[in-house]
């Protein structure tokens, strides 16, 4: 059997990895932010967006709760709080849009 194993660019985004979070999640205080962008730059998930002071936000559907954004913030404007669990990936969604063989 032979088939081309290829995947659509950026198709991993359908994995809602926020369901992995265990004990903690970040909260952006939106008080002292200086728009340095470091939280967004280092987040291993790439789930922080924003480009203006005090306007950054975390997409909790993907955040794994590592705490690196809180560590790097020079203004201590991100704190880690108790996690609110995320619903896990629906299998229906994972079935959709398969890239194999296309």
């Amino acid at each position: 059997m032979f088939s081309i194993l290829a995947a659509k660019p950026k198709s991993s985004a359908r994995n809602k990895t926020g369901s992995w979070r265990s004990t903690k999640m970040p909260r952006l205080l939106k008080k002292e932010c200086i728009n340095c962008g470091l939280c967004k730059f280092v987040c291993p998930e790439g789930c922080i967006s924003g480009s203006e002071k005090n306007q950054y936000s975390v997409d909790s559907e993907y955040c794994k709760g590592c705490g690196l954004c809180a560590y790097i913030c020079p203004k201590k404007d991100i704190e880690m709080i108790e996690n609110k669990p995320e619903k896990s990936n629906s299998s229906e969604e994972a079935e959709k849009d398969k890239g194999v063989g296309k």
Partner: protein, 294 residues
């Protein structure tokens, strides 16, 4: 996920790296610094597994995986084909691998890519062991680190051999650029990738990327621990140009290596073993002298 994120990034969310993975942090910085006109070849390893769980990919640029050992050979072929078609001017070629895929099994292909003068950048994500298969020792594992194949115990203080000097091995090919970087200073990665990609010819960049699982650290400590590696002298940030040491990041008052070691499960056994601890301090002292870090 918001549309802006998906448009802005060439390595996106939904990948399956562990929380706080240094390699996952570094790869986005590398991809975004390289930009849209880039073709990537990837060795087998954690990065390949967590970014391209079939049938998905986290990459937004053409990306090819073939084997564990041949990322550099693939990149050589891609570069040659682009040059033949007259398209190389505007396209970056990046080969990437873990430290095992670089210093051990991928070394021959890498040396070939450098020796033949391909216009490509090789990025090594150095987490200092074979993480994807369960933390086995590699040639890039540091002295006295405990791994599953160099366990510490009654008769051993961990890995008995020093770390392979990959940045010097690459520099010895007299390539235009061979350097180290670290997630200790994430902006340094961006600067060095951009710098490397402006240079024509073969380039090597090795990035220190702590692995919370294999180093036995909390996922929130990835950057902090990487900083200690730099500030103790155990991970010198250096740049070689055409075989000569051109720059090194100074550390005016180096911290004792115990600061770095005590933060990680893989080194914790050393705190009760004075002789083994002194052995690691010697590695740092040697680096400080050799690279003129003070």
């Amino acid at each position: 996920m918001n549309k802006q994120h998906l448009e802005e990034n060439y390595y996106v969310c939904g990948h399956t790296a562990c929380a706080g993975c240094g390699q996952s942090m570094a790869v986005r910085i590398v991809m975004n610094a390289a930009g849209k006109n880039t073709i990537v070849t990837n060795a087998t390893g954690c990065l390949e597994v967590f970014s391209t769980k079939a049938p998905e990919s986290a990459f937004g640029v053409p990306w090819i995986h073939s084997l564990f050992e041949n990322a550099a050979a693939l990149a050589s072929g891609v570069e040659t084909a682009l040059a033949y078609q007259g398209k190389k001017e505007n396209i970056n070629v990046i080969a990437q691998a873990g430290d095992g895929g670089t210093a051990d099994i991928g070394l021959q292909a890498l040396s070939g890519m450098l020796e033949r003068g391909h216009d490509a950048l090789f990025v090594c994500y150095d987490n200092e062991a074979y993480m994807n298969t369960g933390i086995q020792r590699s040639g890039s594992t540091p002295f006295n680190a405990s791994t599953t194949t160099s366990p510490s115990g009654k008769i051993s203080a961990g890995n008995p051999r020093p770390k392979k000097p990959m940045v010097e091995i690459c520099a010895a090919h007299h390539i235009p650029y061979s350097a180290t970087s670290s997630v200790a200073n994430p902006k340094d990665i961006e600067i060095k990738v951009k710098k490397a990609l402006k240079i024509k010819g073969p380039k090597y960049l090795q990035i220190h990327v702590p692995c919370p699982l294999g180093w036995r650290i909390d996922s929130s400590k990835t950057i902090e621990v990487a900083k200690l590696a730099v500030s103790t002298g155990l991970y010198p940030l250096v740049e070689y140009e055409y075989g000569k040491l051109a720059k090194s990041r100074k550390i005016s008052s180096p911290k004792p290596v115990s600061e770095y070691l005590k933060a990680q499960g893989r080194f914790r056994h050393l705190l009760k073993n004075e002789e083994a601890l002194a052995g690691v301090q010697k590695v740092a002292d040697k680096n400080i002298e050799y690279y003129g870090l003070k």
